[in-house]
Structures are given as structure tokens and as C-alpha cells.
């Protein structure tokens, strides 16, 4: 920790994609077992400039370009993790996780369990997912629920540059396979971050209350967090005071923060880009009802894209994704006028 205690931390704006680079640089300097593998992570610096400079600083042994072979190099990273390295793996787009399901689901998630606890699999696999950039049906998906369904994996989805930095650093130091689902639409977004602290960690498995409110709890995930906050700021002027919770880690899910918010608000809206059926929202609602079926004063609501692939055409994709307007409209319907401020 370099942060001085006697003066305020120096904060500067950090972009979402630079948070990725910074997390990797700091953790690679800290631990020589951390290596980075993936398509174009080397001299090119990646499609979003997310690995720029790392190949030059750490060399080709530790920052290595792979051929286009997601299954092969993901499995390779798992074998390396079992034998002492701590690989970071890039899968360019979240949709391409389908090309490496076996290493993730049948190998990484189960090896420690199957092998009697003899091995650890400290791999951080990050990928750019979700929509909002007109990338079409095979480059816009949010598949978080699939992986949250598998014991042995951890799943994180940072909604800001600061969270990306803190969560990724924790993921790299974690002894498990952590899947980090980044949001393409947030790549250029900025946030103030302490520039001197190279031990800035956000613990995995903890939700964060992003905005305090009293009328309704909005659980928003990934790029939906900003949209929910923007909606809440507008609605406050109309007397609706929404509390925004970002789970940040989808597995293991911190339900306690959500439950304690609901004790106060009694109303629940969930907003995510992943599909609604069998999704994270469904799981949150189930957990809330299991905890106390009388906790909610009105039916819970899920706001997600329709059950269709993500369309390409900009107008269609705008309609497809939840946004500030649709979140606001939903919240107006949930909070009766006589209960507003």
C-alpha cells in the first residue's frame, strides 16, 4: 500500500479498458506467476487497447499471443494453473465462450473437486460481452446465467472502471477460476480512481449499494447499472427514490445486501441484459421469496431484452435493450403516486 494516510488520495479519471490494463500490469509486477494468454494480447495490444504495453514490459513468455483456438488455449491455461502459474485468459467476445465450454465447465470447475482437492485452478478469464454497440447476434450476448449455474466457478461483471480494477485484481489473486464478463458498451467510460494505490481490491462476492433510496430496490447488472442510476436521478425529481444495487459478483451471489434493502423498500426491479428465462433475475426473485414470501408489497419485475437474439440495426438494438426510459417507466408503474415524496 502506497496510499499515504495523512493526505487525501490523488484521483484521476480512468477508462474502463485502461482499468483492465492497469489491473494486469500491477498484478504481473506483483507476482511473476501471473501470465496473460489470448488472441492478440501481445504486440497489437488488443482490439480495445486493453493489453497495450504489457508485452513490451513482461515479454513473450508471460504475455503470449495464441492462435484462434479458444478451447485449446483455455484448457492449456488450466493445465498451467494446475502446475503453478496464475494465467489470465482473454476470450475476445463473450459469445465465443461457447467455443471453450468444456475447459470451463468440465475441467476448471470440477478438477479440484474431482481430484480430491489436490489442485487449485487460479485462472482469470475475461471477455467483452453484452450489447449496445451494434455488434449483432453473435457478438452481443450476455451469458452470465449459464456460468452462475456451475459450481466451482466464480462470475463477476464490473459496471465501472473502478469496479473493473478492484474486481479484476481480486480475481487474479483468487485461487479459483474466475470469469470476468466485461461490457463492451462501457469500454470508453471513465471514473475517478486513486492513482497511487496498487493494492486497490474489491472483494468478490459482495454487492454494492450504488445509490441509496427508500421506495424501490433496483438490482442492476453490468451496463444496466449506469442506466438505472441515471433513471433514478431523474425520477427523484418526480418523488420516486430508488435504491440501486449492483451485485458485481453473480456467483457466489450476495443476496443479503438485496434482502436488507428490500426490508426497507418492499419493491423489487431487476434489470439485466441477459435473457430473462432461468436468469440471474429469476434466481434473485426465487431467493427473495424463499427467504420471506411476504417481504414484497407488489409483484417483483424483471426488465430484460425480449426473448430473441440481439438485433444488429441500431434502432432495433435501442428498442431491444433496457434503457433509462424503460427503467423509469417501469419504476413509475411500481411506486404508487400516494407513496412518493
Amino acid at each position: 500500500m502506497k496510499t499515504p494516510t495523512d493526505q487525501p488520495a490523488l484521483e484521476k479519471p480512468l477508462k474502463y479498458y485502461s482499468a483492465v490494463t492497469r489491473a494486469f500490469r500491477e498484478e504481473m509486477r506483483r507476482d511473476e506467476n501471473v501470465v496473460l494468454l489470448g488472441e492478440d494480447v501481445g504486440p497489437s495490444g488488443g482490439i480495445f487497447a486493453q493489453t497495450r504495453g504489457l508485452h513490451k514490459e513482461f515479454g513473450p513468455d508471460r504475455v503470449r499471443d495464441t492462435p484462434i483456438a479458444e478451447a485449446g488455449f483455455t484448457s492449456l491455461a488450466i493445465g498451467a494453473a494446475m502446475t503453478g502459474l496464475r494465467p489470465i485468459v482473454e476470450i475476445g467476445f463473450e459469445d465465443f465462450l461457447t467455443a471453450c465450454m468444456d475447459p470451463i465447465v468440465n475441467q476448471a470447475a470440477k478438477l479440484r473437486y474431482m481430484l480430491g482437492g489436490q489442485v487449485k485452478v487460479p485462472v482469470t478469464l475475461y471477455t467483452f460481452g453484452s450489447g449496445g454497440v451494434n455488434a449483432g447476434p453473435q457478438h452481443s450476448q450476455s451469458l452470465s446465467a449459464w456460468f452462475s449455474h456451475i459450481p466451482g466457478l466464480k462470475v463477476i461483471q464490473p459496471s465501472s472502471a473502478r469496479d473493473t480494477l478492484g474486481l479484476l485484481k481480486s480475481a487474479i489473486r483468487d485461487d479459483n477460476f474466475v470469469l470476468c464478463l466485461l461490457c463492451k458498451s462501457l469500454v470508453g467510460s471513465k471514473e475517478l480512481v486513486d492513482i497511487d494505490n496498487d493494492d486497490f481490491l474489491i472483494p468478490l462476492g459482495r454487492s454494492e449499494v450504488k445509490r441509496v433510496g427508500q421506495h424501490v430496490t433496483v438490482v442492476a447488472i453490468g451496463a444496466m447499472v449506469r442506466r438505472a442510476i441515471e433513471a433514478a436521478e431523474t425520477l427523484y425529481l418526480e418523488g420516486i427514490d430508488a435504491e440501486i444495487i449492483d451485485p458485481r459478483t453473480l456467483s457466489p451471489l450476495d443476496i443479503r445486501t438485496i434482502l436488507s434493502s428490500l426490508e426497507k423498500t418492499k419493491r423489487l426491479l431487476i434489470v439485466h441484459e441477459a435473457m430473462s428465462p432461468c436468469g440471474i433475475g429469476a434466481e434473485i426473485i426465487a431467493k427473495v421469496i424463499e427467504h420471506n414470501h411476504k417481504l414484497l408489497a407488489s409483484p417483483p419485475v424483471r426488465l430484460t431484452p425480449p426473448f430473441a437474439p440481439s438485433p444488429f440495426s441500431p434502432g432495433l438494438e435501442d428498442l431491444y435493450l433496457p434503457n433509462q426510459d424503460s427503467i423509469s417507466e417501469t419504476l413509475r408503474n411500481m411506486v404508487p403516486e400516494n407513496e412518493r415524496l
Binding site: T66, S75, A81, M82, T83
Partner: protein, 320 residues
């Protein structure tokens, strides 16, 4: 026989018997209902496991397959803990959570048998990459069958290993049948070792019943890999005597393979060579077999007398 010493020959010989007797015991126990689930045996393939593993250093790694008992034993895993795992006992390698297909002993370099065909290859490349980055001079050997050579991960692994010059040996036990279908359903060429040349490294085919030949081939490949020359592909033509799984009626066997008289027994063949070429006496040969029998009988005893796992074992080691 190359420069095989009598001591090394006796070591190879005893290990082959340990595997044969382990597998025969497992087959018997399975029929008796003492082993649950599915088991896949490697009777007839003992020379492959032994010739390959005994040519490696103790800190080299192997990755194995669903038919992996022989590989694990040859690399030095404990027969007691293996048999206990097959029986689902808490004293087994996986505390009864993995079973036959997930035996591992990382301390002796066994990174695990694996239930997914083809994954042994890229996982071994990972261990080889660690050795390369840490400059340890270790290597990794991946066992797989000819059936796995139709699977993408094996090809992805071969391509990466070749580009990165990884210290890895791809060891294919070409045993005439993959699952329930013969070789030509799975492979388009007579010798699958030719696949290596397309990726720019050396591939060779050896007699999978000849333990001395395998030992020599793997020793040479290991020296190559350790020297930074990259991967080698070794195809060992062998013969799976039992079915894909125990209880498999093998209705698919081709006529030539039904006649068990035509089979070469790798152990018998090696015993002849030991006697004729290395002048090892009958007594030494019998003694090695006897030692193997005692080891395996003790393993069966150990497994059958072990406790079942307690319910809490189910929840352990899900996460680190």
C-alpha cells in the same frame, strides 16, 4: 532392446504385471458388484503405459484418459488409493468423489485421468507451458487414443505446441477401437502419427506391444522436448482386449479381433525377450510377478476394508 539394463527390464516387467493384475482385479470386483459406476480397462495395453511413463523423470507430468489406470500406476500412483477410489471409498485419491475416470496424484506428476476425450492434450500443453516459462526442464506427456485425434482440442493442442515449441509428447494409444467402433470409423489414414507432420513436428508409429521399443521412443522424444526442440507425436499400435467399458458385449468386434489366439500379449512377449536377450532367469521373472500380485492383492484388501465417505465430503473442495 537398445541399452535396456536387466534392472530396468525387471522394473518395466513388474509394473506391467501390476497393471495387468490391477485391471483383472477391477474386472472381477466390478462383476461382483463391489465397484459402482463405469470402468474402462487397459488390459493388453500395459506396454504403452509402462514404456512411456518409465522413460520420464519423476517430476515430469502426464495427463490421462478415461482408460487411465495403467498410466497412473506406471507413473507411480498408489494402487491402494486407486482401488479405493474405484470402490468409491473415502481413502481413495478423490475421497470417493471422482471414481475411476478422475484418478490423480500430482505429487508423482499425474495431473489426472479425464472423462472428456481429447482434453488430455491441451491440459498437458499447459503443464509444458509452465515448465517453459519457469525453465524447469520438466516435460508433459499426454495419453489419448486414436479416437481423440478426431477431436478439435487435440489438434488445437498440437498446433499450439508446435508454434510455441512446448516440451510435450503426444502419446496416442492406437488400440483398434474407439468407444464401440473400429479405427477406420475415426481415422482416415493407416497411421495417425502422420498428423504431426502437418503441424511441423516429428511423428512416429511404434509397436505398442513392445515395451522396450516404446521406452526407447519416449526416451528419445523426451530428450528432444527437454532440449527445446518442441513436441513429438508417438503412435503406439496396441490392442484393447476388453470392451470400451466392463460389461460391453463387444458385438462390434471384427472377426480378426474375435480370435484371441492372434493376440500378442505384451507381457509374455517381454518375458521371452528378458530370458533370451538379457539372460534374466525364470526365478527373477516369477519373483517380479509375485511381488506385483502381492501389491495388488493388498490394494484390493485396502479398498474393500475402507470406509465410505461421510456426507460432508460432498461439499468439500468445490472452491479453493
Amino acid at each position: 532392446m537398445g541399452d535396456l539394463t536387466p534392472t530396468k527390464a525387471l522394473e518395466l516387467h513388474q509394473k506391467m504385471w501390476e497393471i495387468r493384475l490391477f485391471e483383472l482385479s477391477a474386472s472381477r470386483l466390478y462383476k461382483e458388484g463391489a465397484l459402482p459406476g463405469f470402468i474402462h480397462l487397459s488390459i493388453g495395453q500395459e506396454a504403452c503405459a509402462v514404456g512411456a511413463c518409465l522413460a520420464l523423470e519423476s517430476n515430469d507430468y502426464i495427463t490421462s484418459t478415461h482408460r487411465g489406470h495403467g498410466h497412473c500406476l506406471a507413473k507411480g500412483a498408489s494402487p491402494n488409493m486407486m482401488m479405493a477410489e474405484l470402490a468409491g471409498k473415502v481413502t481413495g485419491y478423490s475421497k470417493g468423489r471422482g471414481g475411476s475416470m478422475h484418478i490423480a496424484d500430482v505429487a508423482v506428476g499425474v495431473l489426472g485421468a479425464n472423462g472428456i476425450v481429447g482434453q488430455s492434450a491441451p491440459l498437458a500443453c499447459g503443464a509444458a507451458y509452465t515448465a517453459q516459462v519457469k525453465k524447469t526442464k520438466q516435460l508433459a506427456l499426454a495419453f489419448f487414443g486414436e479416437g481423440a485425434t478426431g477431436a478439435g482440442p487435440v489438434h488445437e493442442a498440437m498446433n499450439i505446441a508446435a508454434i510455441w515449441k512446448l516440451p510435450v509428447i503426444f502419446f496416442c494409444e492406437s488400440n483398434r477401437y474407439a468407444e464401440l467402433s473400429p479405427y477406420d470409423v475415426h481415422v482416415s489414414v493407416p497411421n495417425v502419427s502422420v498428423r504431426a507432420s502437418n503441424y511441423g513436428f516429428r511423428g512416429l508409429t511404434v509397436d505398442g506391444s513392445n515395451v522396450a521399443e516404446i521406452y526407447e521412443a519416449v526416451s528419445t522424444a523426451a530428450a528432444d522436448a527437454r532440449g527445446g526442440n518442441g513436441p513429438v507425436f508417438i503412435e503406439a499400435k496396441t490392442h484393447r482386449w476388453h470392451g470400451h467399458y466392463e460389461g460391453d458385449p463387444m458385438t462390434y468386434l471384427r472377426p480378426a479381433d474375435r480370435d484371441t489366439e492372434n493376440r500378442v500379449d505384451p507381457i509374455e512377449q517381454f518375458e521371452k525377450l528378458m530370458a533370451e536377450r538379457l539372460k534374466i532367469g525364470d526365478e527373477a521373472i516369477s519373483a517380479a510377478k509375485q511381488t506385483a500380485a502381492e501389491i495388488i492383492d493388498a490394494a484390493v484388501e485396502y479398498a474393500l476394508n475402507s470406509e465410505d465417505p461421510s456426507p460432508g465430503v460432498m461439499y468439500e473442495d468445490v472452491l479453493a
